[in-house]
């Protein structure tokens, strides 16, 4: 763990003890078994609002605490360990980041306080096809009168069924693949022509496919200048990627802890299996990968907080390295647990499934390796 301030240490302890006491993985399992459209428990979400987590990225003038990204990452990691489901990431992390980075003053004063008090749930609607390729955005935004008409669809929208507002990446000029011509709009969920359908995913979290059929929005819905959102969209996505990195560290760390515990207790051939050198060395390699991944994950959050000019590189490094570690760790979680790891009754599967969703969101490790190379000019 990075060298934390006293306040960050307090928040980490609070998040760790609250998550393990109030939203242990058993609660997630119970929610999964019920299969609600809004894939989180309302009391969990209310408690997060009460603890002030929804304001961590929001400036004080809008009712937040402005504690920064490393602090939010600490919370996301602890929630990741228990697979705690909530719209915290989609709304108070990604949504708040988008509003702070790209929103007009009017957007900020209208929406940020609502994100903080939990009365609004924001989410980013970005991907349209099987791959994360922001530049290929094709959802059309046509100017009409004093506003725009949006047509197209978005897929795998986080908390899409629970969201009250969508931040929609749209193409207002040019063609799919062009860097220029992207715009961001804030679209309330109840706007005429917008419809959503639940997507049932293996990680049992909340996702929706969102259709836009001639959805009319006023020009005041536009975030920043039209056609020029490409750059700020990248900044928003990078913050989202660093946040996912933090949650992935939590998922991976928990998978490691469960595996290490099993290595110390499971007996075969008359000995605990952790005494076999093949498994001891595998655990050592996984531990090394975890420590290296942690450095990358935390560094990305710190780079954002310090507004350095290498945020993009740091965030791609985080998403790729933490993603690679979590991928291998979630596989070894099953493998080392053997038969019990394959049963639905045991929690390993829940972590494996969550791991794969997180790995692919906002760019998988391959996407970020390619991006890292491009950022380095080769």
């Amino acid at each position: 763990m990075a060298a934390l301030t006293e306040e960050q240490t307090l928040i980490k302890d609070q998040a760790a003890s609250w998550a393990s006491a109030e939203t242990p993985v058993a609660k997630f399992r119970a929610m999964r078994n019920e299969g609600p459209e809004q894939a989180f428990a309302q009391p969990t979400w209310s408690a997060m609002v009460d603890m002030g987590w929804t304001g961590i990225l929001v400036p004080e003038e809008y009712g937040g605490s402005d504690l920064g990204y490393l602090t939010f990452g600490i919370v996301l990691e602890e929630l990741g360990k228990q697979l705690t489901a909530s719209p915290l990431f989609a709304s108070a992390y990604v949504g708040a980041s988008a509003l702070v980075l790209a929103g007009t003053d009017a957007h900020k004063s209208e929406y940020l306080p609502k994100i903080v008090d939990g009365s609004a749930i924001f989410t980013l609607a970005i991907d349209e096809g099987p791959r994360h390729t922001p530049l290929r955005t094709a959802l059309k935004a046509e100017a009409k009168g004093d506003g725009y008409v949006l047509s197209g669809s978005k897929t795998l929208v986080l908390e899409g069924m629970a969201a009250t507002h969508f931040i929609v990446a749209a193409r207002s000029s040019g063609k799919a693949g062009d860097a220029a011509g992207l715009s961001l709009f804030i679209v309330p969920a109840e706007t005429a022509g917008l419809s959503r359908t639940q997507m049932k995913t293996m990680d049992s979290r909340g996702y929706a496919e969102v259709q836009f059929e001639s959805v009319e929005v006023p020009s005041s819905a536009l975030m920043g200048p039209a056609d020029q959102a490409g750059e700020v969209l990248d900044e928003i996505l990078d913050r989202a990627r660093a946040g996912l990195g933090a949650e992935m560290l939590g998922v991976g760390a928990q998978a490691f802890a469960m595996t290490l515990d099993y290595l110390k207790t499971r007996k075969q051939f008359g000995a605990v299996i952790g005494s076999f050198q093949a498994l001891g060395h595998r655990a050592a390699e996984l531990f090394a990968a975890m420590e290296l991944a942690r450095s990358c994950g935390e560094a990305a959050l710190q780079e954002i907080d310090s507004q350095s000019n290498s945020v993009a590189k740091a965030c791609s490094l985080s998403k790729a390295k933490v993603g690679d570690f979590m991928h291998e760790m979630s596989n070894q979680l099953i493998q080392i647990h053997g038969g019990i790891g394959m049963t639905d009754e045991f929690d390993a599967g829940l972590y494996l499934k969550r791991a794969r969703l997180l790995e692919g969101l906002y760019g998988n490790p391959a996407y970020h390796r390619d991006r890292y190379a491009r950022l380095l000019g080769f």
Binding site: M1, A2, A3, L260, L263, K264, A271, V272, G274, S275, F276, Q277, L279, G280, H281, A283, A284, E285, F287, A288, E291, L292, A293, R294, S295, C296, E298, A299, L317, A320, K321, R369, D370, Y372, A373, R374, L376, G377, F378
Partner: protein, 403 residues
């Protein structure tokens, strides 16, 4: 002992002296890899060595009576900084082998006045080169199991046995060796530290050729070699505490580099572009190599970030993070992979052994690649490191498997 309390004044004095005395012909000479005489500047090198030695500034913190300058650590630092700033170097430590960095400090601590007067001035002037006889063929990581025997013959000890990895033994004048003086005592209690001249009939050295070619390492054989009793360093059978201290000096010396820092080499991806070429969009033309290259660069960055994270965490904390234990393996992996990628990108230019069809960089890359294989062997092999992580860090039990 300080001549001035004003470091700024001292800095000016040192700077002026270096300007006045450092021969400009030696500028840019890499003393770790280039020989002054083959470069035609041997006389200038010797003159510079003598001037610095006479001043005592080759070993500035050593007492004046033994060839040093009796200066404080901050003053010694000023000398290092000003020498580096002028593009100069201190020729004395490398000329003495293990003399300045390890043997000298240990003599200062454990030696008698006679031993100090006999051995230190030669080191301080850079005239006497020292090697160390520590490892043996059957005593590597387990050094205390050493078997070289030293038998009491009145005025001297008579040595019989073999040392290995004695760096620079073939060109050294003196050797500091750990030997067994009491075969009946427990293994750490029967060891003594003796000093002996290399130029005698009972000492024979054989350079070890490595897969990377010639190396500074030797095997050293003692056949009735003679070490005077007056050259026993520390008490009889107390050599283990002497050698432990000596190894602490070794670790300390490894944290600082002798000359000015080298200018950063061309980044790997830029070299790759030159050898492999690029597509129209600027990507490396070999997509497979490109992805392995980016993985290596990311791994290198992850390693660096882990080093700085550990440093940040350690500040004000007693327990240094467990992450420190993984650094040796991660550094090794990054470096060895980088060396492989370098050769691969060089292609037909990455196979040269010698000759002018290959550039110096290309030839060096081949040697570095080969020498780098040692990284996962020395200082506790990669497997030993994983044993340490699994037992000491993760708390897994001792292995139950046999063989």
């Amino acid at each position: 002992m300080t001549e001035t309390n004003n470091l700024d004044g001292f800095r000016t004095e040192v700077s002026d002296w270096v300007q006045a005395n450092f021969p400009s012909t030696l500028k840019g000479l890499d003393i770790m890899s280039e020989s002054p005489s083959t470069k035609g500047v041997g006389a200038d090198f010797s003159a510079w060595q003598k001037k610095l030695g006479d001043k005592g500034w080759g070993t500035p913190t050593w007492p004046k009576e033994y060839g040093g300058a009796g200066l404080s650590d901050p003053e010694a630092k000023v000398i290092r900084q000003e020498i580096a700033k002028a593009g100069a170097f201190n020729p004395i430590p490398p000329m003495t082998g293990m003399g300045v960095t390890m043997v000298g400090p240990t003599i200062l601590e454990y030696g008698t006045d006679e031993q100090k007067a006999k051995h230190l001035p030669g080191i301080a002037s850079g005239e006497v080169r020292w090697c160390l006889g520590l490892s043996e063929p059957n005593a590597g990581s387990d050094l205390a199991s050493l078997a070289t025997k030293a038998v009491d013959e009145g005025d001297a000890f008579i040595l019989n046995g073999q040392k290995i990895w004695t760096s620079g033994a073939h060109i050294s004048h003196w050797c500091g060796a750990v030997v067994r003086t009491d075969p009946k005592a427990k293994k750490r209690d029967g060891i003594s530290f003796v000093m002996l001249p290399m130029d005698q009939p009972g000492v024979e050295t054989r350079p070890i050729k490595l897969i990377a070619g010639s190396s500074p390492f030797c095997e050293t054989f003692f056949n009735d070699a003679r070490a005077e009793k007056t050259d026993l360093l520390g008490d009889l059978n107390d050599g283990w505490s002497v050698v432990k201290r000596l190894l602490q000096h070794e670790r300390q010396s490894q944290t600082s580099s002798p000359g000015a820092p080298k200018v950063d080499a061309e980044p790997l991806q830029e070299q790759a572009k030159r050898y492999v070429g690029t597509e129209e969009d600027g990507r490396l033309a070999d997509p497979d190599l490109r992805l392995r290259l980016v993985r290596n660069l990311m791994d290198g960055e992850a390693h660096k970030l882990t080093v700085s994270r550990i440093t940040a965490e350690a500040r004000g904390k007693v327990n240094v993070s467990a992450a420190a234990s993984i650094l040796k393996n991660s550094m090794t992996r990054v470096a060895q992979t980088k060396a492989e990628l370098t050769l691969e990108m060089m292609g037909h230019q990455g196979v040269g052994w010698e000759g002018n069809q290959f550039t110096d960089d290309e030839l060096q890359s081949v040697r570095d690649w080969l020498f780098g294989k040692a990284m996962s062997i020395y200082g506790g092999s990669a497997e030993i490191q994983n044993n340490i992580i699994s037992k000491n860090i993760l708390g897994l039990p001792e292995t139950t498997q046999q063989g």
